[in-house]
Amino acid sequence: MAVVWTLAAAATLVKLLFIPGYRSTDFEVHRNWLAITHSLPMRKWYTEDTSEWTLDYPPFFAAFEFLLSCVAQFFDAQMLIVNNLKYASERTILFQRLSVIFTDFVYFYAVNEFYKNRLLFAGKNLRRMDSQPAIIPALLIFNVGLFIVDHIHFQYNGILFGILLLSLVRITQNRVLEGAFWFAVLLNMKHIYMYVAPAYFVYLLRSYCFTGTGPVLWRKFSIGRFASLGAVVGAVFVMSFGPFIYFQQIGQVLSRLFPFKRGLLHAYWAPNFWALYAVCDKVLTVSAVRLGLVGADRVASAAMTGGMVQEYSFVVLPDVPPIVTMMVTVIAMMPSLYSLWVSKDKVSFVRSVVLCAYTSFLFGWHVHEKAVLLMIIPMTLLVIYDQHYAKMYLILCVTGFYSLFPLLFTPFENVLKVLMLLQSAIFAFLALNSVHSPTPAKFSRAALNRLFKPLSCLQLPFLNVPESLYVLGLVPLGVGNSAGLWLLGADRRLPFLPLLTTSVYCSLGVLYSWLLLYRAALADIRAVSVVSGQGEARGQRVKDGVQGKKQL
């Protein structure tokens, strides 16, 4: 326990140092919300539009801002005036920064709950966890993404992920109603967590509402459990949206929460499938123009000006409407949910949460690059469980953190992000290496091994040679994107190029680690169907699953 709080204290002190750092417009967004919630009655919260940064988070987050504003007035009451746009006095900055730092204690509490209960571990895994107790807390607490997004860029993800972790911990503790309550609260604070809601739904339905072991039968369905679960979740939603239904503003609120007027891609492309799609379009366009198939005027009107345009239309490939992204996401999610339905143990649940986040991230509409944390943080819980998860985590966290780099572009912060990523990557590799001590990864085909032999000096633990080259390739990519373009004088002409190369390069890593994780989940289905009928312990089955995957 002391471990977690020591790490938390150290992290908090480092965060204090970042107070004078760069702040994005999100700082002004949250200041504006403080002002709105503090100085206007509730019925005006979702109609107020003096600032362009209107309130577009669900009601509980607005309530959270209202609570903060009660403290804020003692720092500087000026920041709570709605018309005081872009107000950033020293005390305002101090207050807002400190509010993020302090609310992170929810996150620390959740990490400590996870650490104390050691829920996902048993037998060999538990021994592994106890031999290196600080690893998972350290990876969670010193998560570079949270440092970049919350403490420099400025957002409140710490408390939100704290609630997510807490709900995961409670559910794995079999305190299911509490877990469901926290997740419902979380959904009402930031609706992006809907990404992982399907996993919650399936897991709670299968392992809570259907009681007993063995095959699923209707007579095993507990209506009492289902009703209590529904009551808890329903009550939270009523608490949150009730007032706005009463004000007859529910349509207005929902239109704020789901602005489908935004484009397929966010300003900085998140490293997902659509980034690859967009690049394919770009490549095809250029070649089509060269071949004279498409007129240059059409290209100009759809120009890709730095990826900064909110509305983006493709030239060669068909445009993608929101409904298509939604369908692709649902279809891609289905097998993983089926796997959860079949395996229905706690590890599969956490893995399924990660997979849902992955799938929504890869195929969703207008995904923010920051959403990559939604995979990285729950995934961290699995790194000790199995060395294949450790491997996927390493690929994901390095590429995911790297994909956040475009968020920071001022000199000091540029240095900081590089230092922090290097530290976190080296620490993760060292720590997980000491836990699992994996043998150097090899291909099953001897020819491939021979092919990559000369490069084996670059091989990283857990990864085979091409994977290692991909991860190490981030170094030349980073150098090229900053120093290289500057030296070539291309940084002015092609301002979008670093963003484009970053998101394309990272999307490959994210997609690849998603496939690896998906394969593990599907292998689990097979393993379960093989051993079903035998009353074996779940842990054993999962291990078999991993073995089954190895043979794939």
């Binding site: 020591t6 204290a9 150290a10 002190l13 480092v14 204090l16 140092l17 970042f18 107070i19 004078p20 750092g21 001022t410 000199p411 000091f412 240095v415 900081l416 230092l419 922090m420 290097l422 530290q423 080296i426 620490f427 590799f429 060292l430 290496n433 001590s437 043998t439 150097p440 000096c457 670059l458 091989q459 990283l460 633990p461 290692s468 190490l472």
Partner: protein
């Protein structure tokens, strides 16, 4: 770096690959802290017309890059010595010239003659900060690692070497003064640490050379000159063969002379120009102490007003005499017993005595005592860490002026947490002493809180600053006594440790730490080898 971790068990320089990975992590972490502190304010930010040390260093870049050598240290129409005239030795000037040349490539307005005075843009700030942090990465951090890696021999305990390195590179005092307030102390101090590592391994000539560089970077390094001299000269006269001793001495003189002549060559064309530099380096006209310093004279000033009783010159003489008298014991002891343990303690003692008793002392000067103290952290973890914490406390008023309150809190607590987690300095300490230690730290925290929160009475605006000075001074005197006792051979274990821990400690003291290959032994061993070979 990564290939190292790929499970190969080979060792480099006698250290495992994991050691290097962890060392690299420590470097990255300490650089992160430095960059974090660097985002905060610096001395004289937004305070025209004189600004502060930040502007001084930038101004020196402007001067050295735009004017010929002969104008650097003299008052000319282009070089107004009243505005931050260059008063550091030539090596600093060359370094500033190098920085200035780089600045011209980045943006020539940073060092434009006359026009750039008081320039404060984000770009200038980043550039200046970068010059400090890059030199930390290139010089100070590697020197710190080198010292602890070279110290001792035989079976090494990698984990504790890493912990010692962590103390030296994480010491908040240096980080806050260099990356916060703005100075380049880590260069001169890094050179001293490197010189010490050379001495540890018996490379005395290299050590002398490195120390000359350090002295020519910052004249304040004279505080360390006596120990270096005593150690090197002592090792000459203690040589079993007098002619060997004489030879070594001649070589040392040559190294020192050549280094100095090379560095001073642009100013040696006439006696006047050399004297001009000397006068800039040692201005006797300044006061007894600047601001409120935690030294002896400032502390007794509440009782006796020396400043009013004695003239400037008389006071300077009194200071000189007291300092000299107190310096002698440690000096002669080292001269007679030149080994590394004595050398380290003598370095601390010499700089502490200078700090406490000499003329015109600056509060930052305590760094000259704390950095050598970090080098003996393995021998005296408890007292050294106590000393380090109090030293940061003594600089609080200075750091606060630069708006560094939050960095001070953050770095000190971070250092504290890391040390207590890894080093456990209070383990096995006698109960009474632990209690005194706790009271002392609580007292420091209390005084800091009063200093921060309570408005001083109108009649005594400096009351709390003076309180901090006196509180720290009392501690420094106590530490000076302790470190002298340590130098003179008392292990003081009974005084420090509880009975059961004392026994264990004594073994630790003699076997593991005292470097078995002090240079004298080294040379004697070599001589013996030669002799025996001849006999064959």
């Amino acid at each position: 770096m990564f290939e190292i971790m790929a499970a190969s068990t080979s060792k480099r320089f006698g250290f495992s690959n994991e050691f290097f990975s962890q060392l690299f992590l420590i470097f990255l972490a300490s650089l992160t802290i430095r960059v974090g502190v660097a985002m905060w304010g610096h001395s004289g930010e937004g305070k025209p017309p004189m600004f502060g040390d930040f502007e001084a260093q930038r101004h020196w870049m402007e001067i050295t890059v735009n004017l010929p050598f002969k104008e650097w240290y003299v008052d000319t129409p282009n070089n107004d010595l009243q505005y931050w005239g260059l008063d550091y030795p030539p090596l600093t000037a060359y370094h500033m010239m190098l920085n200035g040349k780089i600045a011209q490539h980045v943006n020539s307005s940073i060092v434009a003659l006359h026009e750039s005075r008081g320039i404060e843009t984000p770009q200038v700030k980043f550039f200046m900060r970068a010059t400090v942090i890059v030199m930390d990465a290139l010089l100070f951090l590697p020197s710190a690692a080198a010292f602890f890696m070279l110290e001792g021999s035989g079976k090494r305990d990698e984990a504790s070497i890493l912990k010692r390195i962590m103390v030296l590179v994480g010491y908040p005092g240096l980080v806050l003064v260099d990356s916060g307030h703005f100075q380049y102390n880590s260069i001169s101090l890094g050179l001293v640490v490197l010189a010490s590592s050379a001495l540890t391994r018996g490379f005395d000539l290299v050590g002398a050379f490195l120390f000359c560089l350090s002295l020519n970077y910052k004249q304040m390094e004279l505080y360390h000159a006596l120990p270096f001299f005593a150690y090197l000269f002592g090792s000459c006269i203690r040589q079993t063969n007098p002619s060997k001793g004489l030879f070594k001495f001649t070589m040392l003189v040559l190294v020192v002379a050549i280094t100095f002549i090379a560095l001073w060559s642009p100013f040696l064309h006439s006696v006047d120009s050399a004297l001009a530099v000397v006068h800039r380096l040692f201005p006797v006209k300044r006061g007894l102490y600047e601001d409120k310093v935690a030294n002896f004279w400032c502390s007794v000033s509440i009782l006796i007003k020396f400043k009013e009783m004695l003239s400037q010159a008389a006071m300077a003489f009194v200071c000189l005499a007291t300092t000299a008298v107190f310096l002698l014991p440690s000096f002669f002891h080292l001269l007679m017993n030149p080994n590394m343990k004595n050398f380290h303690y003598a370095s601390i003692n010499s700089s502490l005595i200078f700090f406490l008793f000499s003329f015109h002392v600056h509060e930052k000067t305590i760094l000259l005592a704390t950095i050598p103290a970090c080098l003996v952290v393995a021998r005296d973890p408890f007292i050294v860490l106590w000393f380090l914490q109090i030293s940061v406390f003594s600089m609080l008023p200075l750091l606060l002026k630069d708006g560094l309150l939050i960095p001070v809190i953050a770095t000190t607590l971070l250092f504290w947490i890391i040390l207590h987690y890894y080093l456990r300095p209070t383990e096995g300490i006698r109960r009474e002493l632990k209690l005194i230690f706790q009271m002392s730290i609580l007292g420091a925290v209390g005084v800091s809180l009063v200093f921060l929160l309570v408005k001083p009475p109108v009649r005594y605006p400096d009351l709390f600053t003076l309180l901090i000075a006196i509180y720290s001074c009392a501690h420094f005197m106590m530490f000076a006594v302790y470190f002298h006792a340590r130098q003179f051979g008392s292990s003081l274990t009974k005084f420090i440790f509880a009975a059961d821990a004392a026994k264990k400690r004594d073994d630790y003291e003699d076997d593991k730490i005292s470097s078995p290959r002090s240079s004298v032994q080294n040379v004697e061993q070599r001589n013996f080898n030669l002799r025996s070979r001849k006999r064959k």
